[in-house]
Symmetry: D2
Subunit: 247 residues, 4 copies
């Protein structure tokens, strides 16, 4: 029944999400969730043309109905009894690094809608499929992995529109780890502490050696490692940073 186990990745831009999707697509059909088709179309095509299977679904993780549609689409594609081997929440809302009093309230609300509420809705949508994965005896414990950041554990001046959502997401992941670990689902949280080497950051840290940035493929490897931990040895949280990072 391995064919009915899938991996779901929310938040697939050109960085971590895409690397994670590629990595997990070597073993599972992957479902790519992003608000805009242009964020998953190229990646789905790439995976499908390299012998994997991927479908993309336009989804707003902060919207209950949108997520219900995503689950329906998945069931149409993979069957009503589909199980998830992995569900990875890599989405982040918009935020502003500015003096607190200059940030419009809507920025906080949008950021919390994705990072906090989005994390909740994503988990409520896909935990039933992960629990199906447990019943289907997946080779590795079904895994629910959340992408965090430095701002998940440290809340700096002018960063509150980012950190509030990220702390909330970390709280969610810890609570779910305690509730669903005993049910066989591995819930984990990764603190990405540094700049990820993606096209958008090409011009950053130019005076530093190339290894001053995190590798997105390296993050994907680490998520895969978390996924393959047996249920005797679950890690809830890892931090990841370049060797040269100041911290």
């Amino acid at each position: 029944m391995a064919s009915s186990l899938i991996a779901i990745v929310a938040g697939v831009g050109p960085g971590t999400g895409a690397s994670v999707a590629r990595k997990f697509s070597k073993t599972y059909p992957v479902v790519l969730l992003a608000r805009k088709p242009e964020n998953y179309e190229g990646l789905a095509k790439e995976i499908n043309s390299h012998g994997g299977k991927a479908i993309g679904i336009s989804t707003d993780v902060s919207d209950v109905t949108s997520l219900k549609n995503a689950v329906d689409t998945i069931k149409k594609e993979f069957g009503n009894h589909v199980g998830a081997a992995a569900a990875i929440f890599n989405a982040s809302g918009p935020f502003m690094r500015k003096p607190f009093l200059e940030i419009p309230p809507e920025v906080f609300q949008s950021s919390l809608a994705v990072s906090a509420t989005g994390g909740v809705l994503f988990s409520q949508s896909f935990l039933p499929l992960l629990l199906n994965g447990v019943k289907l005896n997946s080779d590795h414990p079904p895994s629910l992995i959340f992408t965090g950041a430095t701002a998940s554990v440290k809340s700096n001046a002018q960063m509150a529109s980012f950190s509030t959502g990220k702390w909330a997401l970390r709280a969610l992941s810890q609570s779910l780890a305690k509730e669903f670990g005993p049910q066989g689902v591995h819930v984990a949280h990764a603190i990405i502490d540094g700049v990820i080497d993606i096209p958008r950051t090409k011009e950053w840290l130019k005076d530093m050696p190339p290894e001053a940035k995190l590798s997105a493929d390296g993050i994907a490897n680490d998520y895969w490692w978390l996924h393959t931990q047996p249920k005797t040895n679950f890690t809830w949280e890892i931090d990841l940073r370049p060797a040269v990072e100041k911290w």
Copy 2:
């Protein structure tokens, strides 16, 4: 100009909020914010009849317009140049302690709307008044104090609809402490770790000695202590628990 310095307390039920309001009313006129008049009317009457000054304003801290109205009402009452000596955010949203998959998404949304967004909107509304308090040379550094809970630092199974908001609020308070401390505003966060001795908890911990519960007046004393710290010695965070508490 001391007469133009006020204290604002959001979330005044029969517990911590009321004790805090009573304590600060010995020095400042207090503004009581609660959604329903029945939550502040008795307290306002009590304070006014004991030689203090209190006004109550029906306010939903999760609503920008409602908070704007509150600020307008305050300015009508205390003048456009009113300063705040203290603003205390003691509100909490509704939550459910239940298996995660049985909690309606609206519960998470309401909880985050008060604890996270509410904390943000309250701060954006009253930090300008606290900064006015700095200019007015208040005797003690104007203080913005947030009430947290055990769930602000520990996210237990089935508690995510409470902890997500509380972690977000703690992140907010830490970021604001770093940004507004240098501007003279003392931002603090209190982790209330235990059952508070209020009418609603009368039947709780009945097999324990009376001192197994936190005193709400004691919490108010500690908030006052935080308020009186000089700007050479600011505390961002305190925890508070009964001596007999298991932790």
Copy 3:
């Protein structure tokens, strides 16, 4: 029987320890512990000439025998049934801020001998007196307070010879808080996060305003506040830093 309640302060140099001793001497006879008489003689004289009572005892907190002698001396002076209202551990070992491989092992050993072992021995010596204080119905719960630092919660490069002892001391204080809280002793830990304004630091932060340094008297006030918390409302940990501190 209030006369048989004393306060003990270990680590009385010209900074925090002296301020704490002065503050507590307004209510209790104080015992000043330091390795060298020159560290307590002037202070004892000052307190005694201002209407308080102080005795100094040359004590090495890392040495069991030396602490036994101190306890004996105290009992000779204040009676066998003397109780302690407060015992404050403010001692720190020597350390070096240098590349790890250039620090002689003895530096680590001396630092741990004072901060870690010293904290243990001090606590084992004076907890019996604090428990006596509980029996003697001291007005405020007898308090065992430890002075920590930024390095108690953050271990920076080249700081390990300081942080190892400070983290150990914090662990000690947390364990003791949990064990002795229910027995009526208030155990607390203070994270001093910044430069204290004492003669030795006169030349530091000269380009900053005077309030960029912590006031030692302010710290003493905060320790006194911790001491006066009732047993319904114990704080285990506070942080203290100047408003302008970067953190």
Copy 4:
């Protein structure tokens, strides 16, 4: 030059240390450090007879001279320019879970001598070899890994003789991660949060399913995973616990 890269494991009893040594022996000659030969002889024989290479050296990690002898022995065996690909500190001192006032001071001292001072001396002894490993271009960044416990982050009542050393060790690992990461050495700390399934714990948790205990081989796999992380993606800390663990 791969032949001149070795792995060193301190604290090899029948549990984690042995599993880690077996795992790393598949790639590197391993040096087994333990106070008593009976703790490494069987393991060394087993590794040598299975195609690996292992030598044991009787070593007291709390003793500078003993560690110097160990380094000398290693250089005699593997050459003066030997590099270390990994050094794993898995030693723990003795401790007592008892009321604080009933624990002899020597227990604290012995515990700190191994966990805190031992960690320091081990690191000072083998970091030069790990830095050699960097120069020798080891396939994976040379790794210094410390074994922690629940008591590394939580200090319960009656556990201070264990937690003081473990918190100190965690502080050490964090400081070294920051100092030696930029020099190419990967310093990591593992929080083992649960009972490890070893002969000594056979009778523990008998009413629980077998997966209620951590697998020692699983821990070894995770240490190997840490070791293989590239220098763009270093993890400082992981926690490890059985899926069913209450936490």
